[in-house]
Symmetry: C2
Subunit: 321 residues, 2 copies
C-alpha cells in the first residue's frame, strides 16, 4: 500500500510545467480524469494507468460545462479530503492531483462584462448547434465560447436526454489534455458512449495521446460503481439492481442464441419497469459506431440509462458474439 500524499496542483500553468518537466526527464505521464467522490471504479482506472506510464495525474474537477442548469451540478457529491485519503491507499502512488478552481474563468476580459454575458447566454440558447441547449458555463457568462463536438457519436443515447453533456465532456477533456499533456489517458467503460466519443475525438483532432478504456467495476451485488449511487435510498438501491441483473440475463440469452435486439431490449425494459425504475433508454448498438442494431451479428454493447427516484444511473454490457 502506498502512503505518499499526492502533490496537489490547482493552477493550470503549474500543472503544465510539472508535466513538461517530467517529460523532459524521460518520464511518461498518465491522466485519469474524474469528477471526484472517488470509489473503487476510479481506483481501477488508476491501476490501469499504472500499466502504461511512469507517473499518474488524477484530475478532480466537477465540470459545469457538461451540466445543463436543470441538472444535478449543485447536488453532485464531493469529498476532497476523503478523495485524497482514498488516493493515498492506491498501490503504486498517485503523483499529482490536479484540482483547479474554475477552468472557464480566463480572468478579466472585455467579454466578461454583464452585457456580453447576457448576450452570450442568448446566443447559446438560440445558436449552439441548433439544439437550443445551454450549459452552466454559459449561464455563468464568463465568455467561454469554444466547443468541441463529435457530431455523430454524441447524438444518440445519453446525448438525447442530456443535450449539452457530450459537448461539455469533449471540451473539458480537450482542455485537460492541453493542460496536463499526458501520454496516456484512462476512461471507464461504464461511460461507454463517453469513452467512444473521446477515442474518436483523439483520432479526429490528432491528439498525441493514447486512450485506454477500463472495464466496469461492480459492487458485490452487481450494481455498477458510480459517484451517484450514494444518493440512492436503500430501497432505490435495491430496485436499481434490476439494471445489472436484467443486462446479465440479456447477455446470457444472447450467448444462448437470442440475437433479436427487440426481444433482448424488452427483457431489460420490462425488468426495470417492474422494479419501479423509469427508463431513459435501453439500446443495443455497434461497439464502435454506436448505431442501433436489429440483430446481433457483430460485437455490440447493450447500454441502459434509468432513473430511480431522483438519481439517473447508467450501465452497459458488451456482447461479443
Amino acid at each position: 500500500m502506498a502512503a505518499k500524499e499526492p502533490e496537489i496542483i490547482r493552477d493550470k500553468d503549474q500543472m503544465r510545467r510539472w508535466s513538461r518537466a517530467m517529460r523532459s526527464q524521460g518520464k511518461t505521464v498518465g491522466l485519469v480524469p474524474t469528477m471526484g467522490y472517488l470509489h473503487d471504479g476510479h481506483v481501477s482506472l488508476i491501476r490501469e494507468a499504472h500499466n502504461h506510464t511512469d507517473l499518474i495525474v488524477v484530475s478532480i474537477y466537477v465540470n459545469p460545462g457538461q451540466f445543463s442548469p436543470s441538472e444535478d451540478l449543485s447536488t453532485y457529491p464531493s469529498d476532497f479530503h476523503g478523495d485524497i485519503q482514498k488516493l493515498m491507499a492506491v498501490p503504486g502512488d498517485v503523483d499529482v492531483v490536479f484540482n483547479p478552481h474554475n477552468l472557464y474563468d480566463y480572468g478579466t476580459s472585455k467579454n466578461a462584462n454583464a452585457n456580453e454575458a447576457a448576450r452570450a447566454s442568448d446566443d447559446a440558447r438560440v445558436g449552439n448547434g441548433g439544439n437550443g441547449a445551454v450549459s452552466c458555463v454559459e449561464e455563468n457568462g464568463l465568455g467561454h465560447e469554444t466547443w468541441v463536438r463529435v457530431e455523430r457519436l454524441e447524438k444518440g443515447m445519453c446525448g438525447q436526454s442530456r443535450p449539452v453533456f457530450f459537448r461539455g465532456v469533449a471540451t473539458i477533456v480537450s482542455k485537460l489534455f492541453n493542460i496536463v499533456e499526458p501520454d496516456v489517458a484512462v476512461f471507464g467503460k461504464k461511460d461507454y458512449q463517453q469513452w467512444r466519443i473521446i477515442q474518436r475525438m483523439v483520432r479526429d483532432l490528432d491528439f498525441g495521446i493514447r486512450v485506454i478504456g477500463s472495464e466496469i467495476v461492480r459492487e458485490k451485488d452487481g450494481l455498477a460503481m458510480s459517484s451517484r449511487n450514494v444518493r440512492l435510498s436503500p430501497e432505490e438501491r435495491e430496485k436499481a439492481l434490476s439494471i445489472s441483473k436484467s443486462l446479465s440475463r440479456a447477455r446470457l440469452a444472447a450467448a444462448e442464441g437470442q440475437t433479436n435486439c427487440k426481444e433482448l431490449r424488452d427483457l431489460v425494459t420490462q425488468a426495470i419497469h417492474e422494479s419501479g425504475g423509469r427508463l431513459d433508454y435501453a439500446e443495443i448498438v455497434d461497439q464502435e459506431s454506436l448505431e442501433q442494431a436489429k440483430e446481433i451479428r457483430s460485437p455490440v454493447v447493450f447500454c441502459v440509462a434509468a432513473w430511480f427516484g431522483k438519481v439517473r444511473l447508467i450501465d452497459n454490457m458488451e456482447i461479443n458474439i
Copy 2:
C-alpha cells in the same frame, strides 16, 4: 540569405517525433500554418516567428475541411516546388516543411465504407450546427466527425457567406497544433477574424501555445497580398485596388474626426461598387469581440470582403483612436 533546404515531413507521427526531439533538446518550435502558394506575406509570418522561437515549421496543406463543395478548393493555386525555393530564400532558415497528404484519412475504419459515408454526409447536412452546410471533408466521407467551433466569433462577416469556413479552420489548426506541438504559432492579421478565432480557441481550450498576429503585407500599390491574387485578370486586379484605397481613406477620415460607422462604411461600399466589385460585407467591428460598432469609441477594425470576377478578396485596417 539562407540556402538550407528545409526537411520535408509528410507523416504526422514523424512530425510529432521531430518536434518532441527538438523540445527535449531545449529548443522552441514555431509554427506558421499556410495553404501554400507562398508570397511575401507568408515570408513576413516566418520572419515574425523567428523573433520568438529557435526553430520554424511551415505547414503547407490546403485544408478541404474549410471549403464547402461549391467553393474554390479545386482551383486553389499550388506550386510546391516554387514554395520550397521561396522558403530557401528566407533569412534565418525554415527547418521543416510539414506537407501531409490528407489529414482526414485515418486508415481503414468501419466508418469509411460507402453506407457510413453517405449517412455521415446526410447527418452533416441536417445536423452540423444547424446551418445545413457541409464541407469537402464530409463529401469525401472518410468518417471525420469532430469539429471545433468558436461559436460567437465565427458567426459574423466571413462566417455569414462561408458557413463551414471557421469550423474547418479551427479544427485543422487544432489538428496541426496537436501534431506539431509548437510553442508559438503565427497567423496573418489579413485574416483578421480567423486570427481572433484562433486566439479565442487557444484561450478556451487551454492550448499551451502562444498565438502571434502578424501585420498585413501589401503590394506597392496597396493590394493586400493573397495567394488568390494570381487568379485576378490585370483589369480585375486594378479594380481590386478600390478595397485598400477606400479603406485607407476611411481610416484617414476617422483620424480626422469622422466616427460615424455608417458614413465610413458608405465611403468604402461606394468605392468598391463604382469600381465594379461585388461587395460581400464591409463592417466596422470591435477588435476583440468582433461586434459591430455604430460609433468609433474604442479600437475597431474595418473588415471588407468583395468579389472581383470569380475571385473573393478580403482586407482590413485597424483604426486605433
